[in-house]
């Protein structure tokens, strides 16, 4: 485990849920159905995971410094409503669980001005050692930040759309 990180960490935000990430639907994310393609919802959510990780102290400098990376192991998306090109997006993020190497996050994507829920994303992200390209415990300052954030998020209610198993409900 890394005991420290060789750069200054940003001030930790502990809002519950986090409400930090903003973006907009790029023209190249729109498909022949005239809406944001399913894959780019995942890209947009991955950028929200990036914002979460920067808040933990793991941004570009973590990778460029050849210290480590974060890999996604698994992701689950519910597509709740269409988004058109240019639509502004607001994301909220809840820490659902964490251990020595992983976090379990839940994001919600909203249309930033109309307010509706567009999609949700549950994701497992794992810390990776740069040299071995294998899983490794979070650097100590990151583990500390995760615990601080966990204290703020552990009392949030579990989102209804988290923990879904896919299937056709038979009528």
């Amino acid at each position: 485990m890394l005991d420290s990180l060789p750069y200054e960490l940003p001030e930790l935000v502990t809002h519950a849920p986090l409400d930090l990430h903003r973006s907009a639907v790029l023209p190249e994310w729109v498909d022949w159905n005239g809406h944001m393609n399913v894959a780019f919802y995942v890209t947009a959510f991955d950028q929200a995971s990036g914002t979460f990780m920067r808040n933990m102290g793991l941004g570009r400098r973590y990778v460029d410094g050849k210290l480590g990376m974060t890999f996604v192991l698994e992701t689950h998306v519910t597509y709740d409503r269409e988004m058109k090109g240019g639509a502004p997006m607001r994301f909220t993020t809840q820490l659902l669980d964490r251990d020595a190497k992983k976090v379990h996050l839940y994001h919600e994507m909203f249309h930033a001005t109309e307010g509706y829920l567009a999609a949700t994303n549950e994701v497992i992200v794992m810390n990776i050692d740069y040299a071995s390209r294998r899983s490794a415990p979070w650097p100590a300052p990151v583990a500390e930040r995760l615990e601080t954030l966990w204290l703020a998020h552990m009392t949030l209610s579990r989102p209804a759309k988290a923990g879904r198993v896919m299937g056709l409900q038979k009528r």
Partner: protein, 171 residues
């Protein structure tokens, strides 16, 4: 609608469907030096097009303003990295269906090394072009869907289907 105003492909009843091939494009690579999580879904979405071509509900279906297929929910497991230029083979298995929906799972393999790179479980819904709301599959698509489902019925259920996301607690 019993037949569409465009020719249908010959139905491929191999189980699982094993028609889709692709290559990891340079623009799909991220700063970690591997295919980015969003572009796995881009690659899988193209495999969904290949499956929809079998049903007769792909690009022609939308171009003729008959209908579209929307994804309601997606689950991806990221099993192993793939790099720029890697050849991909994607198989598709129908898990379940009803009058409007299709539940399926894709498996992505490195085409020459053979390893499993990722899986993508999906719930698709048929959409009427004019109303942009859910609608029963047209007759020709339902007929093909039933034949494919029958051909896939005896396949074992992949362990990646029906997964619940979470961090397993160690004893």
């Amino acid at each position: 609608m019993t037949s569409p105003p465009y020719p249908l492909n010959e139905l491929d009843l191999s189980a699982p469907l094993d028609r889709h091939r692709a290559t990891v494009l340079p623009e799909w690579i991220d700063w970690n030096g591997h295919m980015n999580v969003g572009f796995y879904v881009v690659a899988f979405d193209k495999a969904t097009d290949t499956l929809c071509e079998q049903l007769g509900v792909s690009w022609d279906y939308t171009r003729e303003k008959i209908g579209m297929t929307f994804v309601l929910e997606a689950h991806v497991t990221y099993d192993r990295e793939v790099k720029e230029g890697d050849p991909l083979r994607i198989t598709s298995q129908i898990l379940d269906h009803d009058a409007k929906r299709l539940h399926c799972i894709h498996a992505m393999y490195h085409a020459t090394e053979g390893y499993l790179a990722a899986t993508n479980e999906l719930m698709l819904m048929n959409i009427d072009y004019a109303t942009r709301r859910s609608a029963p599959w047209p007759g020709f698509a339902m007929e093909r869907l039933e034949k494919l489902a029958e051909a896939h019925r005896s396949l074992p259920r992949p362990p990646q289907a029906g997964r619940l996301i979470g961090i397993k607690k160690k004893q």
